[in-house]
């Protein structure tokens, strides 16, 4: 009983701390940018919206970016936690299982084909990258099943690396045949961008992300046991096959949602879970919600830097996440070791 109430208290503290930080980031980020806007004008009722530049900068240019950063950051961080626990590998992330490569291939094909489809305000590139990420994970999962009932983390990992390499090669081949401008456009997409322009792609990405969060909500205890080893988890009564299925399905949904919205933003999926574990410990009941919140705030901050540091020109957000995330992670690691 005491242990349970202790966990509940730690959970509350964790969510309150990380939540407050995330909310603070989300409040500051839309106010700061390359152009200065006045909040009084943004919310002024006397200026018609069509004439109100400040309101349009706030509601069209900045707010969707901040929300997109929250969705992408939390999606990538959550799937990173789950992939790392499931594969019992600290370096695992959506890239490892070919999800990022599949998403990139989908986007590359859509960009190169100049496909002209627009479904509920969502253009073809995010749709194709979502399909690519799910497709890649399905192939990897089926391959890992072929060996035995239930997945083996080694087979999953190896199949993921092989499929990732294969899909990247196909993607490069498509780029090689593509027009020069399309190749440049694909490169831009790969480096990540959160300037989504309207709310439709965010709403579209929220559907799979909600499904994923529902799946993740069933996992914390199971992941704690699985990360110790599948046999001991089975001995403790965990239905490992079912848990793995839920974990893979949810992680692929959240990665697909994130990548289709912002591109394969580097490092978030690997670094955020580790930073969070260093801060709150290894209990997945704490790590999962804390990672979602910290991933969101981390990406909101990185995007803020990306759009202001070289203003009016903008940096791809993936460069900022990699440059900031790497050293910060190393600092935490060495501080612990010492």
């Amino acid at each position: 009983m005491r242990e349970r109430s202790d966990v509940r208290r730690r959970l509350l503290v964790t969510i309150a701390t990380f939540g407050a930080f995330t909310i603070a980031c989300c409040l500051v980020a839309p106010i700061v940018g390359s152009t200065s806007i006045s909040l009084a004008r943004v919310f002024s009722r006397t200026i018609p919206y069509a004439d109100n530049v400040d309101a349009q900068v706030f509601f069209i240019a900045r707010l969707p970016r901040v929300i997109a950063a929250v969705v992408v950051g939390s999606g990538l961080a959550l799937s990173g936690v789950v992939f790392q626990a499931l594969l019992r590998n600290p370096l695992a992330s959506s890239d490892t299982l070919g999800v990022a490569a599949g998403a990139t291939l989908g986007a590359t094909i859509a960009i190169t084909a100049h496909a002209d489809v627009n479904l509920f305000g969502v253009s073809v590139v995010p749709m194709a990258s979502f399909a690519g990420s799910i497709g890649a994970l399905v192939i990897v999962y089926l391959l890992s099943l072929a060996r035995r009932r239930g997945t083996s983390s080694t087979v999953l990992l190896l199949a993921g690396i092989a499929i990732s390499a294969l899909l990247s090669a196909v993607g490069r081949f498509v780029q090689y045949l593509a027009e020069f401008t399309d190749t440049a456009r694909t490169m831009q997409w790969i480096m990540g961008s959160l300037d989504v322009g309207n709310y439709a792609p965010i709403v579209a990405a929220l559907v799979p992300l909600t499904l994923a969060v529902a799946g993740f909500a069933t996992l914390p205890r199971v992941l704690d046991l699985i990360s110790m080893g599948t046999e001991s988890a089975e001995a403790r009564g965990v239905d490992v096959v079912r848990a793995e299925r839920i974990a893979l399905f949810s992680a692929s949904m959240s990665t697909g949602a994130a990548v289709s919205l912002g591109g394969p933003v580097l490092f978030v999926g690997i670094i955020v879970p580790h930073i969070v574990r260093l801060l709150v410990g290894a209990d997945h009941r704490l790590v999962l919600p804390a990672s979602a919140l910290f991933g969101a705030s981390f990406l909101v901050l990185c995007d803020l830097i990306a759009r202001t540091i070289l203003a009016p020109v903008e940096l791809p957000v993936g460069i900022v996440t990699a440059v900031l995330g790497g050293p910060f992670f190393l600092w935490l690691l060495f501080r612990r070791v010492r």
Binding site: G33, S34, T35, Y49, A50, D51, N52, V53, A55, Q56, V57, I60, A61, R62, I111, H114, A115, D116, V117, N118, S123, V124, V125, Y176, E179, F180, T181, A184, R185, Q188, W189, S193, D195, V196, G197, N198, P201, R307, P312, V313, E314
Partner: protein, 294 residues
């Protein structure tokens, strides 16, 4: 002091050294005789060669060269990123027109003692300058000279046509993700797209950004408040083009959106800085200032 030779002598010696170095440098690139078997790897220079009447000297072209139609009969030898050195050597060219960044190709041509002409996309004046120097190089100097002069006088005529009219602040977009306002690539304050826009009587909203291309965000579009948006497209028209242009309507505070001065210009001539630049600038000017061409 006394040991030093008199100053004029030093100056003459230095001048002599400079001349020798310049001659060695010239010998490395130029050949005295005019070229007869030319390979051009860049769409712009291929168009220039045909326009100056040197199309018959071309023995191969780059994989992206599609104009004029006669170019289709030529064998292809790759392009900027993938020049096929083996095919280039087999065709025994006496001049290869290549892009400035193709360093590896230059090294290989040097080793094979094949002369080359280095081209780089720059501003509008560089187009006619390239036509003149390339024309001299392939032995049609006079025709190239008259082509360049005719391009210049046409451009001057367009400039004077629109010269006294108000110059709208224009955003010149040459790339954007279809069906959204993401990855908007626009012309910055330098380069031939910028020069074309200024010649056509517009003011580039990004003229203070000293780059050829700028990836814009919706915030930048709102902040820069262009009065006209010109979108360049190449390739065949698509069914969703009109629908795609309506994406801009999301930015209702932008003057160009409010006055619906958003136009699509379609054609390779807008993105290939060759002799067709005259048609491109004229069409831009007609779009920005229809009243000047009645």
């Amino acid at each position: 002091m006394a040991a030093l030779p008199p100053r004029p002598l030093i100056r003459r010696a230095a001048l002599g050294a400079v001349l020798v170095v310049a001659q060695i440098a010239a010998a490395a690139q130029a050949t005295p005789t005019s070229a007869t078997r030319v390979i051009s790897l860049i769409p712009a220079t291929t168009e220039m060669l045909f326009a100056m009447g040197a199309g018959d000297k071309l023995v191969a072209a780059g994989s992206y060269d599609h104009y004029p139609p006669e170019v289709e009969r030529l064998p292809r030898v790759g392009a900027l990123l993938d020049p096929n050195i083996e095919r280039i050597l087999t065709l025994k060219p006496d001049l290869v027109v290549l892009y400035g960044t193709q360093t590896e190709l230059k090294n290989r041509l040097n080793r094979a003692s094949i002369p080359y002409y280095t081209y780089v996309h720059k501003g509008l004046p560089d187009i006619t300058e390239t036509i003149r120097s390339l024309g001299t190089r392939v032995g049609v100097g006079e025709r190239a000279q008259s082509l360049a002069s005719s391009i210049e006088s046409h451009l001057d005529k367009i400039r004077s046509n629109v010269g006294k009219l108000p110059r709208p602040k224009t955003l010149l977009v040459f790339g954007r993700e279809r069906g959204s306002l993401r990855s908007i690539d626009a012309s910055g304050g330098v380069g031939f797209l910028h020069d074309m826009l200024e010649a056509a009587g517009g003011t580039d909203v990004l003229s203070d950004v000293r780059r050829q291309s700028v990836t814009m965000t919706t915030e930048m579009v709102l902040a820069r408040a262009p009065e006209v948006i010109l979108e360049l497209r190449y390739g065949p028209p698509g069914a969703g083009d009109a629908e795609d242009l309506r994406q801009w309507n999301a930015l209702a505070a932008v003057p160009a959106v409010r006055s619906q001065r958003i136009y699509q210009l379609r054609g390779e001539e807008y993105v290939v800085p060759g002799p067709r630049v005259v048609q491109a600038v004229e069409q831009m000017a007609r779009t920005l200032h229809p009243e000047a061409f009645k």
